[in-house]
Amino acid sequence: MAYSLIVNGQRFDVDLPGEVPLLWVLRDELGLSGTKYGCGVSACGACTVHMDGEAVRSCQVALEDVAGEVTTIEGVGTPDALDVLQKAWVAHQVAQCGYCQSGQIMQAAALLAGNNAPSDAEIDEAMNGNLCRCGTYGRIRAAIKTAAAEMRGE
């Protein structure tokens, strides 16, 4: 089946069965390997992307069910032009192994889009679905606060 989808502002036509998870469309078909396969059963958050700005798990979204524009970590910023979150991630040296971090940043971006001054409790509530086996949670929280402050112009 042919599907047309918009990823990071660019239109792609793919010819795949409708039940293929968006994660594999992104990684294997479009070559956007920044989105990670963690658990495949919606338990870990490593595969987080945005559909029309809302954070979803791409391992659980069938290609047929993609509604709206998809944004992946590649669409957030580039090494030459880092997004405010990515800059904060670097400043705080958040990543250890780094595998979960693209999902973490996508979830954090969804949080900050609706709240540019989140409390610790609001950060924990928004981020609780993104697991990190290195235990970088403290730095993630600090980086989100730094990014939020920069978004507020502080």
Binding site: P17, G18, E19, P21, G40, V41, S42, A43, G45, T48, E54, A55, V56, R57, C59, Q60, V61, A62, E64, D65, A67, Q107, A110, D124, E125, A126, N128, G129, N130
Partner: protein, 272 residues
């Protein structure tokens, strides 16, 4: 495998009548448990009119494909606070963004977070098929562990909640081994109202994860009427509808002890 995502209910029902299909909304329970791929998927999340919350003289209507995030963001009276608290406990925010209220019921897990608060709201389930529409109480819709009264060819179309007294408030408590992302060990939902003297004059109590299907505690509800919240006593008779199992999340004795305490906390939570 065919993947069918119709725009209209008629279209969905017509296909459902002719082929063996798995019905999927948010997919947050379906895909992780899928194993071998089914023959066909009927995705109901695009059907017009199936998502959203509306109010008319008959009460509230929550479309089957209403997501938990929709519930959290909806402008609803205090009687729905327990349902909103439960909505925040359904997996993570990403799960709440796609998981639906009807999916939680159809999945029929004993630990489904949505069921106890909906029982305390006297929710009814509306189902449709090519033969017509029928409505049944939620307590009759879920019939066992992973079992419902849904027949072949039927789709859940809405959750219906009758009008509630203006003065009632609600709360939900979930006990798990950690704060977030956890399957319930026990949970309690309450919808409580007080008279001018501060005595309970409306009580709906339900407990989940302590029986194959979440249960209302009607004996407790009857005893609560006329009681001040500081005088609440929970006894073994009140808990007879429950039959908790021993599992990795807790023993049956622990669950019953915990439920008695959760009941007191939840009523207090609904009182402030």
């Amino acid at each position: 495998m065919t993947y069918f995502a119709p725009d209209t209910l008629d279209d969905a029902l017509a296909h459902l009548d002719t082929t063996g299909m798995s019905i999927v909304a948010g997919g947050t329970d379906f895909f992780p448990a899928m194993g071998v791929a089914p023959q066909a998927i009927l995705d109901v999340s695009r059907i017009k009119g199936l998502r959203g919350i509306t109010l008319d003289n008959a009460g509230w209507r929550m479309g089957a494909a209403t997501t938990w995030t929709d519930v959290i963001n909806a402008d609803l009276p205090a009687a729905f606070d327990g349902l909103k608290q439960a909505a925040r406990e359904v997996g993570s925010q990403q799960i709440q963004n796609t998981g639906t209220i009807a999916g939680n019921l159809v999945n029929a897990s004993p630990a489904a977070d949505g069921v106890p608060p909906l029982l305390t709201l006297d929710a009814q389930v509306e189902v449709a098929s090519a033969r017509g529409v029928r409505v049944m109480p939620l307590s009759e819709f879920i019939t066992g562990v992973r079992q419902t009264a849904l027949r072949a060819g039927e789709i859940v179309t809405a959750i219906l909640i009758p009008p509630l007294p203006d003065h009632v408030r609600a709360a939900f408590s979930k006990l798990g081994s950690r704060k977030y992302l956890v399957i319930s060990t026990a949970m309690v939902a309450a919808v409580i109202g007080y008279d001018a003297q501060g005595r309970i004059d409306h009580a709906r109590m339900a407990v989940g994860a302590c029986s194959p299907v979440a249960q209302r505690l009607s004996a407790l509800e009857a005893d609560l009427i006329g009681t001040a919240p500081e005088n609440i006593l929970v006894n073994a008779t009140h808990l007879t509808p429950l039959a908790p199992i021993n599992d990795v999340r807790g023993s049956s004795e622990y669950r019953l002890d915990a439920v008695a305490e959760l009941i007191r906390r939840t009523i207090t939570g609904a009182s402030t």
